[in-house]
Amino acid sequence: MGGVELLQFALAGLKNGAIYALVALGFTIVYASTGVINFAQGEFYMLGGMLSVWAYADLGLPLPLAAVVGVMTTAVVGAVFELLAIRPRKDGNPLALIIITVGGSMVLSSSARHLFGPLERALPSFSGTGTVSILGAALEIQSIWILGLTALAVASLWYLYNRTSLGRAMRACAVDRNAARLVGIDTRRVVTVSFLLAAALGALAGLAVTPLTQTAFNVGPSVGIKGFAAAILGGLGNPIAAVAGGLVLGMLESMSIAFISSTYKDAIALIVLLSVLFWRPQGLFGRSGREKV
């Protein structure tokens, strides 16, 4: 295999990895504040694409405005889901909450089908359909958008976590929820904000990818599983690790297509997920020992 071809696969891996990173960030943020795996995370990805298409094609809004409407509406859906379905279960039993998010996932995808129909829907590229050449390999302009938006999201998240009092409250909750409550942090608000942020990040990924792959009401679960595999691969609860896990997973998938075959490409993420669960449940970048063993 030539160097250009390899670079081509690497670029594709980077693009997919950025998407997985955004979805993984959503998993990790909710996990940090609640200890719960949010099975509805993939549905936020689906809603981001579907709502943007709806705002653009059905409401006739200009594309940038439609994108903002899509992401913000999904964020609100995430917060409302937390208020209506997660918060009422007062004991916070993780198994119960996980099961609730499984139910939520069904309701969200089914609602999208009722509202927007069962067909695949598309969005135009953000700025032209051309490609740029990098050392001979072609990269779609939309992929540059994906990478840029992911970088922007990670930077904003870094700012939120390190420079704002809300971010510090979220970090405190991730370390110890009861201690956070004792020092006067409104932990319930932190949980709602976590779902809002997770939904927005998932929606951003779904929005950015729709011009390349189209979207439909049922795309959520498969992307959700890959994002979850990325989050586990990095180490659940740590945002930087989630991004790293996403990029590593994207690369692994791409390289497996390059060197093995594309038949089982969807199984790579799952095999990674199982392997990490079995041999290194704290993830590649997580510290071992804490509360898990």
């Binding site: 795996i37 993780p94 499984v102 309701v107 599983i225 199982l274 669960l277």
Partner: protein
């Protein structure tokens, strides 16, 4: 006091016998294939749910991959019967052995860890098997599936009519329920209830909680495999969509609605939720459009059921039955 207990036993015995008679007698009341078919599906789901009830309601674990065990059982049995010419009972044994082994390999590493790693591992397992069912064409027939799978038969006895398959499935369901009821009343069953109450407390009493959870998971996986070996031959056709994540989630909905520490509750839930898309089988004169509306909204019904049960009645139908049975709030 004594008298009250005796009365309850009598009521329970009469109710139980009536239900068994009604289940066994259904083919005498209706000869309509469609109705028998629907209730045969319900019986298959009852077999899977009996295992899920042990896992969720007693051992406090949830599996998001049981449809995959169901599928492994179905494909394994169909393969050895149609390709290798084995008798059906051989297919059943292969299905059970394969799913029990798979369950063991999956449960051992994931149950050593605290938390809900089993849910994640089963989810990944289910999705991997979906890829395998679709791609391993020589064994599974790919996306088109396998057809022409022969009816179940035991020696000269062939279950080749709608009522015969109905009886076979429900007889097997009855046996799995009896096995599960025995298990629940045994020492292992008491240990399971103890660990549902408090894992720490159970460990302190010398209960090997990991060992018990692993065993329960293996049992539930093999029940799903057994159900698969019945389903493939009763229906005669299998394809990957029958064993998707969607079906796993539906099974979780049945287990959750059925409730904790109960076998009867999950059985009722399995039958109820199986009937939803086939409401016309139980409601005579249901209009075509009403049925279509129900089918259109069934996902929402399942999803909202899961959420509502977890928030408003975490004990599910089982908890409800206990409350009626004891006349006071059901506490352990």
């Amino acid at each position: 006091m004594r008298e009250r207990i005796d009365m309850r036993l009598v009521v329970a015995a009469v109710l139980g016998l009536t239900v068994v008679a009604a289940v066994a007698g259904l083919p005498f009341f209706t000869s309509e294939r469609y109705i028998l078919r629907v209730f045969t599906f319900a019986g298959v789901n009852v077999i899977i749910i009996t295992g899920m009830a042990l896992l969720f309601g007693y051992a406090g674990q949830v599996s998001l991959g049981h449809a995959a065990f169901f599928g492994v059982g179905a494909y394994a049995s169909a393969f050895v019967v149609t390709q290798l010419g084995w008798p059906w009972i051989g297919g059943v044994i292969v299905a059970i052995v394969l799913t029990a082994t798979g369950g063991l390999l999956l449960a051992l590493p994931s149950l050593r860890l605290k938390g809900h790693y089993l849910a994640m591992a089963t989810l990944a397992f289910g999705e991997i098997m979906r890829v395998v069912f679709t791609e391993a064409r020589t064994v599974t027939g790919g996306p088109d599936g396998l057809s022409g799978i022969p009816y179940p038969s035991l020696g000269p006895l062939a279950f080749d009519s709608a009522s015969a398959s109905y009886w076979l499935v429900w007889a097997v369901a009855g046996i799995t329920l009896l096995l599960a009821a025995n298990l629940v009343r045994s020492r292992a069953g008491r240990a399971m209830r103890a660990l549902h109450g408090s894992e720490l407390g159970a460990t302190a009493c010398g209960i090997d909680i990991t060992g018990i959870k692993v065993r329960v998971f293996v049992i539930s996986a093999s029940f799903a495999g057994l159900a698969g070996a019945l389903y493939a031959h009763v229906v005669g056709f299998i394809s990957p969509s029958t064993f998707s994540l969607h079906v796993s989630v539906l099974l979780v909905a049945m287990a959750v609605l059925g409730g904790t520490s109960s076998l009867l509750g999950p059985v009722i839930a399995a039958v109820l939720l199986t009937l939803i898309p086939f409401s016309d089988a139980v409601i005579p004169g249901l209009s075509r459009s009403a049925l279509e509306t129900i089918q259109e909204w069934q996902e929402d019904i399942y999803g909202l059921t899961i959420i509502a049960v977890m928030i408003f009645m975490p004990g599910g139908i089982g908890g409800l039955l206990r409350r009626i049975g004891t006349g006071r709030s059901a506490e352990r």
